[in-house]
């Protein structure tokens, strides 16, 4: 089997595995939409506050956040299913097979990225029914879903690293609130212009703020190449870090088993 074919087979397994266990994807599909619905209804008046960016509605303001949040949710399942695989012995079988070892990693991560991409468009469909207008059009939406894929791949790689390191799906699930927390400590839910004090400092130090603001721009203002590239660069850097860490963790695992 060629390396490309191995990658393909393993990502297929990962995507199918996700779709075949609907219970696992329910939180990823429902929670971000629930938050979106809740915040759009609760916070819609806040867009009148002086300093709030020009938007149609809070729904439009928050939509990009919801897509990225969905990617986060979906990505953690990659790490926890990797941990479940280790617990269940799948990993040993895969090591014994003559598959390229990095394909174990890449397959898993690619699966999550594909899932996040599809999920972004599903969210787009739902939000459109509730009056969402993406200013950047389909190109802007494509940019947003690409960034979501890379973010999912990055968080997927990080949680795979964590899953490989701990070998416990519970530990990965337990670490999930961390990703959630990092998102809350950014300008994901409210504009930076309206923040002040220490929280503003935290949000400004958090790269997630810039990533979200740049993809949000595609939704609330219009398509922008430069902002898309910035967002992709931030996500890509995170992804690279995730790959290095999970590569190290995989090497550690392999040393233990062989």
């Amino acid at each position: 089997m060629s390396t490309a074919a191995q990658y393909l087979a393993l990502s297929r397994r990962s995507v199918l595995g996700t779709i075949r266990t609907p219970i696992a994807v329910i939180p990823s599909l429902t929670f971000p939409l629930l938050f979106l619905a809740l915040n759009s209804a609760a916070l819609n008046r806040s867009i009148q506050l002086p300093g709030f960016p020009e938007v149609d509605s809070f729904l439009q303001f928050m939509f990009a956040t919801t897509v990225i949040q969905g990617a986060l949710f979906g990505a953690v399942t990659a790490g926890s299913s990797m941990a479940t695989d280790i617990e269940g012995g799948f990993f040993e079988r895969m090591i014994a097979a003559p598959a390229s070892r990095s394909s174990i990693l890449v397959g898993r991560v690619a699966g999550v990225a594909v899932f996040a991409f599809g999920q972004a468009w599903l969210f787009f469909a739902v939000a459109t029914v509730f009056g969402l207008d993406v200013e950047g059009g389909l190109v802007g939406m494509l940019g947003l879903s690409l960034v979501a894929s890379v973010v999912a791949a990055a968080i997927g790689a990080l949680s795979v690293a964590f899953g490989l390191k701990t070998g416990s799906s519970e530990a990965v699930q337990g670490a999930f609130p961390m990703a959630f927390a990092i998102m809350f400590l950014s300008s994901a839910f409210f504009p930076r212009a309206l923040m002040s004090g220490w929280f503003l400092d935290v949000a400004e130090a958090n790269p997630f703020s810039y990533l979200i603001e740049d993809v949000r721009y595609q939704v609330i203002a219009g398509f922008s190449w430069s902002r898309l590239v910035t967002a992709l660069a931030i996500a890509g850097a995170l992804f690279a870090a995730g790959l290095v860490l999970s590569g190290l963790a995989l090497r550690g695992r392999l040393k233990e088993t062989s």
């Binding site: 209804a41 916070l43 809350f184 300008s187 929280f199």
Partner: protein
Amino acid sequence: MSAAAVTWGIAERSVKLIPRVPSTFIPSLVMPVFLTIAFSGPFASLVDLPGFPADHILDWVVPFTALQGCAFAGITTGMGLARDLENGFYDRILMSPAPRSALLWGAFVATILRAGIALALMLLVGVVSGAHFRDGIVGIAALTIAGLGLAFAAGAWAIGLALRFKTQQIAPLMQTGVFLSTFLSTAQMPVELMTGWLDDVASVNPVTYVLALARQGFLGDVTWAVTQDGLLALGGMIVVLVAFAYRGMQKVIP
């Protein structure tokens, strides 16, 4: 009397187990602290909206996260019960002649004790973060009644679920119930400033009135009108959910 002794015996065990199963209880303490930051930090300027009832975001957020903390601490009793039912320990308890209602009340008392820990922590968070206790001890009393009462209701919900499903896998449903009922209220905004469907839901959600009971001492003076509505809402929730738990106890021997 022995029914009281049983109730206390069950409650005492539950409290003793807190440090022995930290993985259930600690998150229920960390979450409200985190949510306090998450709901006050980004949204601090909401107070500038015309008609927003608080001058300072923490006065708005702390009572809410305190209630949530109490509710989440409360459902850990249900999780413990689910654990007992799953691993068979509860069989031992059920085979004893102890009155079934004493067993349930043991769990309810434990719920309130556990919620008390969360409430104490959140009061501390309130003090440290600089929330204003405008009506002093009366306001704190109102928050305490609201918090422990809501925990009682949430605990009864979780206990009822545990008795029906007898597995720890039901924990997410316990949490979802608390999440939905607390967020579909005036958690972030007063009813007057909401748009769309949420104001309809929030105005019929009893948690909205419990939240008003909890918040009043942070926003101004405690009034009887607000207190009365809050107590009625609490009473209604507790009666219904305690009945839910009692029915669960009847079903536990199928």
